[in-house]
């Protein structure tokens, strides 16, 4: 599975970035850097990732560091899939 591609697609859809997410590199900062990433978008992202990858996220796993950059978000998804 192309995890990076899937995560980028989810980001693009939920944040209505109109393809901008495809230009993101692993180092692209997310939280605090993308104005569209507000609290509703964070929850929508988590819910959509849960549905798309079929894992469940507990409340205490949700942390600002997960959404720091594209790389940290992909790491989080990979960690959930490996668990």
């Amino acid at each position: 599975m192309d995890i990076k591609g899937e995560v980028v697609a989810v980001l693009d859809e939920v944040l209505s970035l109109k393809g901008r997410a495809r230009g993101f590199s692993l180092n692209t900062p997310l939280l605090g850097a993308i104005p569209e990433l507000d609290s509703m978008a964070v929850v929508a992202l988590i819910t959509t990732l849960e549905e798309r990858f079929g894992f469940t996220v507990d409340d205490d796993e949700i942390d600002g560091s997960v959404f720091a950059s594209l790389a940290s978000l992909i790491d989080f998804v990979q960690g959930k899939l490996a668990a």
Binding site: S16, S39, D59, G64
Partner: protein, 273 residues
């Protein structure tokens, strides 16, 4: 297409309502009551609901969209809303619409609106068909996701741990909590938490539509489980999956044209008994 905006008087204030209907009363396919989703999802969905109401009216349906108590331009604040009050509003909307037209009744629910529509249909005990848009099957799970908004806001502000437990404790103590600009009362939280998408009253059919932006998508496992169970119990239910954005939660207001067509198609087709 005929269009009217007005206030419906109730025992507890007024409700803002929009009525769309066909121009020629000769071709009258059905009477539809829209049951909207929860909090911000309602605002994000207004455009799609309006587009669908117009499309339905053009196709020969009379459609009533009513803001529930504490929502939109209806009486009271969101913090005054309870699950019971919303169920009463849905029944009121159905009663009012059925006084205007004898056409077959549809309840068109979206997200948590499906929970309300289903429960209201069960209570009314008269023939009603159900159109579901991306139904929430468990109110409990939805409440958890809603409380997470506070958690997410905490992350943005640098604190997060224990936020949802604190909210739950406050609710248990009978205090309202503020989440994403909405004041959630303990009564509304409790009603939502108890709500489950149970087997509908078997007087009509169910048209269940999910939306996914994934090209290779299939119905969600939760939906499949529920549909299988209902079919086994003899309920007429059909499901469909359309491609498009999750417009009730995207940052910008987005549209899902495939959903408009799929809904009309689902409602117009007759089901073999």
């Amino acid at each position: 297409m005929a269009f009217e905006a007005f206030f419906l008087p109730t025992a507890a204030g007024h409700r803002f309502a929009l009525l769309h209907g066909p121009n020629a009363p000769t071709k009258h396919c059905g009477a539809v009551v829209y049951v909207p989703p929860f909090a911000e999802e309602l605002n994000k969905s207004r455009r799609m609901a309006a587009l669908q109401a117009r499309a339905m009216a053009t196709a020969g349906y009379t459609v009533l969209q009513m803001d529930l108590l504490g929502c939109g331009d209806s009486s009271a604040d969101f913090g005054d809303a309870t699950w019971e009050a919303w169920l009463a509003d849905v029944e009121l909307a159905c009663d009012w619409l059925q006084q205007q037209t004898a056409a077959p009744l549809w309840l068109w629910g979206q997200r948590t609106g499906c929970l309300l529509a289903n429960e209201a249909a069960n209570r009314m005990g008269r023939p009603v068909n159900l159109l579901f848009w991306q139904p929430v099957v468990s109110g409990k799970q939805f409440l958890q996701q809603f409380l997470r908004l506070k958690l997410a806001a905490g992350i943005l502000g640098g604190e997060s741990k224990g936020v949802t437990e604190r909210l739950r404790k406050q609710l248990q103590q009978g205090k309202s909590v503020e989440v994403a600009g909405y004041l959630l009362s303990p009564a509304l939280a409790a009603g939502l938490e108890k709500a489950e998408l149970l087997l509908p009253h078997r007087s009509g059919r169910v048209e269940w539509i999910e939306i996914s932006s994934r090209p290779d998508a299939s119905l969600s496992p939760a939906a499949l489980a529920r549909l299988t169970q209902w079919q086994a119990a003899g309920q007429h239910v059909r499901s469909n999956l359309v491609n498009g954005p999750a417009f009730w939660q995207t940052s910008e207001i987005s549209e899902c044209p495939a959903l408009l067509d799929a809904s009309l198609m689902a409602m117009s087709e007759t089901v073999a008994a």
